[in-house]
Amino acid sequence: MVIKILGSGCTNCKKLEELTRKAAEELGIDATIEKVTEVPDIMAFGIMSTPGLVVDDVVKMAGRVPSYDEVKRLIAGAA
């Protein structure tokens, strides 16, 4: 599974990345977590508000830092 964190490096993006790493670990998901930081690349996913969460090239969430539980559901549902 490839999880992408979209965001140009603001604090919220870092928060989302941390939550995602933790969630993937707890769920035992073998995921590669990549960061997408360039604006054109972020927008290619069709979102304008960051941070964004993309699981296997499907946009799951954009524009906020979700709760830990929600992150778990978002990445687990895709497995």
């Binding site: 927008m43 946009v59 830092v65 709760s67």
Partner: protein, 322 residues
């Protein structure tokens, strides 16, 4: 009944009984003001931000973009300014937002109406003004913010400044995110709670400093002291207030507690509103961020049109309200 009466009681008790300051002394007035206003504003903030976070979850920027694409001058400007109030906007998303709007065919002038309204008409400011000064001032603020956002967007649209946008903006192609998983109500509530913590955690120093300045002015500066300098008879007061306000970067929550103190000390209401809008709506950090997508000439026009609009609103209110 005033829901904040217990806070007033607590502040009175702390100031006059526990600390033992005299009720009419300057220090007593200042400390009493501070101890009452800080918790009051923080409570108001927490409540407002909670509901704002929930309301905003229904207006993601991607939806706003769809609504505004291929909109026209005038009607589009009005819609953009109104959506600017509710669409979440943080300066860190200003660049992708701008590109996304332009890419989907939102006219430049309409995009600017949104960009002006979004920071300037701030929900937190609306509720704080309502809570601290009543609905009239809050309504004045919203109406004037909308007016500035709509007219400045129309002016920029009419000027045909598309070539003053950085060229690469027109080359970016946006993908389609498809349907995002629905955010459930428990998710919305959990998010709103954490958002309250995040925002209050970030803005409380502004609140404390803003109210601190207000408290000192309240206690130590004689009433009507500012009439001579910033009263309705000084024609330069409004532009000066705007010039002072632009470099002062503060959160709405830090400036608004000053509004009552400034008026109490004799600053004309239009001048105070102009000052507040300049602080909240025209910020240098935002200009620096927008530089990534706008050529300097367009940033200058954006700031210039905005500043003129704010000054005009200031004069208008000074003339109409005495």
């Amino acid at each position: 009944m005033d829901v904040f009466a217990p806070l007033q009681w607590l502040s009175d008790w702390l100031t006059f009984d526990l600390i033992g300051l005299a009720r009419t002394s300057k220090a007593g007035l200042a400390v009493n003001f501070f101890l009452y206003d800080v918790p009051k504003v923080l409570i108001l903030l927490a409540v407002v931000i909670f509901f704002v976070a929930i309301i905003r979850s229904f207006f993601p920027p991607e939806k706003t973009r769809k609504l505004l694409s291929h909109s026209r001058l005038y009607a589009g400007n009005v819609a953009a300014a109104l959506l600017g109030i509710v669409t979440p906007f943080c300066s860190c998303s200003a660049v992708p937002l701008f590109i996304g709007f332009v890419e989907s065919g939102v006219p430049l002038g309409v995009t600017f109406s949104f960009l002006v309204a979004s920071p300037m008409i701030n929900e937190v400011a609306i509720i704080l003004l309502f809570g601290l000064f009543g609905w009239k001032i809050a309504a004045l603020y919203v109406v004037s913010g909308l007016f500035i956002a709509i007219t400045s967007g129309i002016i920029i649209g009419k000027m045909g400044l598309e070539s003053w946008v950085e060229e690469y903006v027109y080359q970016i192609r946006m993908g389609d995110a498809g349907e995002l998983p629905e955010q459930t109500w428990p998710d919305k509530l959990a998010y709103a709670r954490s958002y309250v913590g995040e925002i209050v955690g970030k803005v409380w120093p502004y609140v404390v400093v803003g109210i601190g300045i207000g408290a000192v002015m309240h206690g130590y500066i004689p009433d009507n002291f500012l009439v001579k300098y910033a009263g309705p008879d000084n024609p330069f007061a409004v532009p000066i207030a705007v010039l002072v306000g632009v470099p002062l970067y503060s959160n709405a929550a830090g400036v608004i507690p000053l509004v009552s103190v400034l008026t109490e000390k004799g600053m004309a209401i239009g001048t105070v509103l102009a000052f507040m809008m300049a602080v909240v709506g025209l910020s240098l950090p935002e200009a620096i961020i927008l530089r990534k997508v706008l050529k300097p000439k367009l940033i200058a026009v954006y700031f210039g049109v905005n500043a003129v609009g704010i000054v005009a609103i200031g004069y208008l209110f000074n003339a109409v309200l005495h």
